[in-house]
Symmetry: C2
Subunit: 230 residues, 2 copies
């Protein structure tokens, strides 16, 4: 038998859908039939189909069978960039530069984001991420000191708070929000642009189980974009 792996079958079925053989909304043959047609086990077909479902191309329901989606869920996976990697990938040398650093009581909106009482002590850090001396992004970060007290002693001139946190409080989960925001005075100065310029912005809050660790806003230099394949 030739090479009939699940990827081959996945591709074959994808092409049959794209060619119009099975139109949007149509029910496609069951796993048993497809297995017979392709001469492989149902397990293999099942795997191929589950992948296609993950891709958003088909919908599967027990008893009802598998259908081609009316409107395919276009989705795309973005790797959340690590600023140092972005900068180094362009050939420049990375350096974090601390613009502001303090330990204070949480402002209300930050306390809310981190699910803390409003008088909790937080570590506040504003960092410019430099690539060959030019500002690539400005990061405004708040860290929950009960979750990561040692950050006060971290050498944040050498390693960014982000990477330090990854090592100390690894593998938390989190929220990400992509948006556009206007440059405030601080960003305008850092990026050598005008106040109000459009900046690509990522907000990120991370936690481990029910302990909220950190929230930050990352504003990129004008012209920055995130690219992906659909």
């Amino acid at each position: 038998m030739s090479t009939l792996n699940h990827q081959t079958i996945r591709k074959a079925i994808r092409e049959r859908i794209e060619s119009g053989e099975w139109l949007p909304g149509a029910t496609i043959p069951g796993e048993v039939d497809l297995a017979a047609e392709y001469g492989c086990s149902r397990t293999t077909v099942n795997r191929a189909m589950q992948n296609l479902a993950d891709d958003g191309l088909i919908e599967r329901k027990r008893r009802a069978g598998t259908r081609v989606k009316e409107i395919p869920t276009r989705q795309t996976t973005f790797k959340i960039p690590i600023v140092r990697h972005e900068i180094e990938a362009s050939g420049a040398s990375y350096r974090p530069h601390i613009l502001e650093r303090e330990t204070i009581k949480a402002p209300n909106h930050i306390a809310a984001r981190l699910h803390l009482k409003k008088d909790a002590k937080l570590f506040h850090l504003v960092t410019a991420h430099l690539g060959d001396g030019r500002v690539h992004a400005v990061e405004d970060r708040w860290v929950n000191l009960s979750a990561a007290p040692d950050i006060i002693k971290a050498p944040l001139n050498e390693i960014s708070a982000n990477e330090w946190l990854i090592r100390k409080v690894p593998y938390s989960s989190g929220d990400v929000i992509f948006s556009a925001s206007a440059a405030a005075a601080r960003e305008a100065e850092a990026f050598e642009t005008k106040i109000g310029s459009a900046l690509f912005t990522i907000d990120r809050t991370t936690w481990l189980d029910d302990v909220y660790i950190t929230t930050m806003t990352l504003r990129y230099r004008p012209g920055y974009n995130l690219q992906s394949r659909l």
Copy 2:
């Protein structure tokens, strides 16, 4: 035996990593050992591990085994929104409003994006997407008329060009670019804001095999954001 599915094992292993039992860079036990430990078949462990690898938490190599990633690849999947769905999800009623419509020779930068000769005829459409009469987003789209000639006859006052295209030229692949851009006069007027306001922007080009179909820029009203779980 209790319920030991691949998801349970996936979760268990994830927790062992997050707890620090296996540190970043460490090699974790082979599939055979884990299968023995959890009392299930290797197939099941394999599936759990492949999922964790997809999540970017571990790295797997034949012969070398499975390691915890030094810096986990944080990645997140965004569903590319269909504007009509976004609007209707908020309870408003959707209506596309055509601002501009023409059939002309492609400007150079658009021809380049679509890999066409610069004198190719293109369909150009600017649409305001309305939710209860308010502009939610402005779409600037170019369609390759040799790929989708019938779009000229489509009832674009009722169905958006996007959804029409999905039906007629389904399941193409594409590029997506997220960025921030400044409102030009047209957007400023549509959104009742000032020229230069920061707008969240999605650029998208789609094709089927080697035929480029359409490219568009979608600018969202000020304050819009895209959210996801990390």
